[in-house]
């Protein structure tokens, strides 16, 4: 599988004390091509976030391997050793908790730029403003602290911070669940544009509408294992597993609406 950007095989991880182990992820395998978008759906506690953290290099699996361009990610002591680190970046669920409340949006992004590019402060500032502008954050808003920004704006600042590293994969863990519908649409448009420019995205969500819109392929996760996978169209139109069927039946109101009087 050399053409794959990332592949994971037989991932398992469990938590808890020795007496009471809970298997969060059990024997999970997936692949991701360059510029591809995949979705992972499942309910709370199904192991989605743990899987995301393994892929992003934040959680060492008990068993299994993750390969990035054929290189093992968890080879030695450190995950994503050296320059690999910047290749996979993560955006978290909570836009209210993932930014430093005492730093302006610009400072937060510039800090990440300087870390990854080791460029001068002025250059980092300029690059950050450009990045933020491409996400619809004006220079005026960029100089505000997180509490003065809306949830959607904060989430876009988090994405800008992740993109400073010029990653080839973005792992987004429930990026839209804490923000309003219109802000969701903005963020999804942004992700769409990034995929168009060759970024691969792993989108974790329990919102099937978001997955259907953005992901080309989808993995359905239930109690730590993948119960179904395939192209998003196939899985949505012809779900095979009972759990997938229940998920799809729970989407409220898929009836179309007239949008103009």
């Amino acid at each position: 599988m050399t053409d794959k950007l990332m592949s994971a095989t037989g991932l398992s991880v469990s938590f808890g004390s020795r007496a009471q182990r809970i298997a969060a992820v059990r024997d999970v395998s997936l692949t991701l091509g360059a510029g591809e978008s995949i979705g992972i759906v499942g309910e709370s506690g199904s192991g989605k976030s743990t899987l995301a953290r393994i892929l992003a290099g934040l959680q060492r699996p008990d068993a299994g391997t993750v390969l990035f361009r054929g290189q093992p990610v968890y080879a030695n002591g450190q995950a994503y050793a050296g320059d690999l680190r910047r290749q996979v970046q993560m955006v978290f669920q909570d836009p209210y908790g993932s930014l430093n409340p005492r730093m302006t949006a610009l400072a937060a992004v510039a800090e990440a730029c300087r870390f990854h590019d080791s460029c001068a402060a002025a250059a980092a500032q300029e690059k950050s403003l450009r990045l933020l502008a491409s996400m619809g954050i004006t220079p005026e808003d960029a100089r505000k602290k997180p509490r003065a920004l809306s949830g959607g704006q904060r989430q876009r600042v988090s994405v800008a911070r992740a993109l400073c590293a010029n990653p080839s994969i973005l792992v987004a863990d429930e990026p839209t669940s804490a923000i309003d519908q219109s802000a969701q649409a903005q963020l999804l448009n942004l992700f769409n544009g990034l995929i168009g420019r060759g970024l691969a995205i792993v989108l974790i969500s329990h919102d099937l509408a978001v997955i259907r819109y953005l992901a080309k392929r989808v993995y359905v996760m239930c109690e730590g294992v993948f119960v179904e996978s395939g192209t998003t169209l196939d899985v949505f139109d012809r779900p095979q597993h009972a759990y997938t069927k229940a998920l799809i039946a729970s989407i409220p109101g898929r009836k179309p609406r007239q949008t103009r009087p």
């Binding site: 309003d180 649409a185 898929r254 609406r257």
Partner: protein, 330 residues
């Protein structure tokens, strides 16, 4: 012909006290009617005043330092906008039940489910303990919790999020109120659990004849389960009507919300977004508060107070001054 509504909120204005008599207006021009036995969906972005409006219906504004500045809340024979704490003690819980937003933080963590239900049941009536216990079991049965005798002895941390929300609903309906206010009851819960909770609310409405106000920012959800919709934007009610009526919106904000719905979009197509952000409390401009974001704004939209809802009293109403221009919306 139409019977008097159960709830009739007229031109409500709510402010938060900022000291030295200064008040920050957070809800202005809110109007809403709910008939008996109906389920009404109240939708709007975060900060649009949905929760403040709910709090005005259960008399807990003061606890958040907020007060009603003008307008009325007719509820049966009462005007709740004028109610004092003595009246609220008869209304809260007894005639209006409330399901709070956060199911996970809702129940008291150091009380068993049985103790919390008992408190909700006993709040006003004096009941002997065996009657309270049998009522508690009955309530758990209504919210479809199996093995009630086990659950009554458990603590909230032993229950899943969906179960906890069912317990909160059981507490809210303990005294068979006429109105149930549910403030984003399924936020943070899984879609399958959300579908079950919605079915439960609909059944409570049908079986017990309760009227329900469901607060949500999910238009698809409200569309699927409610009879009536009220849309809020920046502290004002901008459109209201039956679900089918509002499906053909008469306000550009509702139209934009409709078109930014992700579940109806073609995968990968450019999604419609609403320009700018909802104006923050304290920085409202004169006239319609959607004007800055509106594609069909006219000169007269920017003068005076926020336009009120107009249209047939129990039909499709809009606050937009120029709904006739909506066909030309960009």
């Amino acid at each position: 012909m139409t019977a008097a509504p159960l709830v009739d909120i007229r031109d409500l204005k709510i402010g938060i006290e900022r000291g030295r008599g200064e008040k920050l207006v957070v809800v202005d021009s809110a109007s809403l009617r709910l008939r008996r036995g109906e389920m009404l969906g109240l939708i709007g972005e975060s900060g649009s005043g949905k929760t403040m409006l709910c709090r005005s219906l259960i008399g807990t504004l003061r606890r958040r330092g907020a007060v009603i500045l003008s307008g009325s809340i007719l509820f049966g024979d009462l005007d709740l906008a004028q109610a004092d704490e003595r009246i609220w003690r008869d209304v809260r819980g007894r005639r209006v039940g409330y399901v709070p937003q956060s199911a996970l933080a809702g129940p008291n963590p150091v009380m068993t489910i049985g103790a919390q239900l008992g408190e909700a049941i006993r709040r006003n009536a004096s009941g002997d303990s065996s009657a309270v216990a049998s009522r508690a079991r009955e309530l758990l049965d209504i919210v479809r919790i199996r093995r009630p005798d086990v659950v009554l002895k458990q603590y909230p941390n032993q229950l899943s999020g969906g179960m906890r929300q069912r317990v909160m609903i059981a507490c809210a309906i303990a005294q068979s109120p006429e109105l149930l206010v549910a403030d984003e009851p399924t936020t943070g819960l899984d879609v399958t659990v959300q579908a079950e909770i919605m079915k439960l609310l609909r059944d409570i409405r049908t079986d017990m004849g309760m009227s329900i106000i469901l607060v949500s920012h999910d238009l698809a959800l409200v569309d699927a389960v409610c009879d009536q919709i009220v849309v809020m934007h920046a502290g004002a009610c901008v459109e209201s009507g039956a679900v089918d009526q509002v499906a053909a919106p008469l306000h550009p904000y509702t139209a934009a919300l409709n078109r930014s719905r992700i579940e109806l979009a073609i995968p990968g197509s450019e999604l419609v977004t609403i320009k700018g952000q909802s104006p923050a409390v304290g920085s409202w401009q004169p006239g319609c508060r959607f004007a800055e974001r509106c594609g069909i704004v006219q000169a007269d939209c920017r003068v005076g107070g926020h336009p009120p809802l107009v249209g047939p009293a129990s039909g499709h109403r809009t606050s937009c001054l120029h709904p006739e221009l909506m066909a030309a919306m960009p």
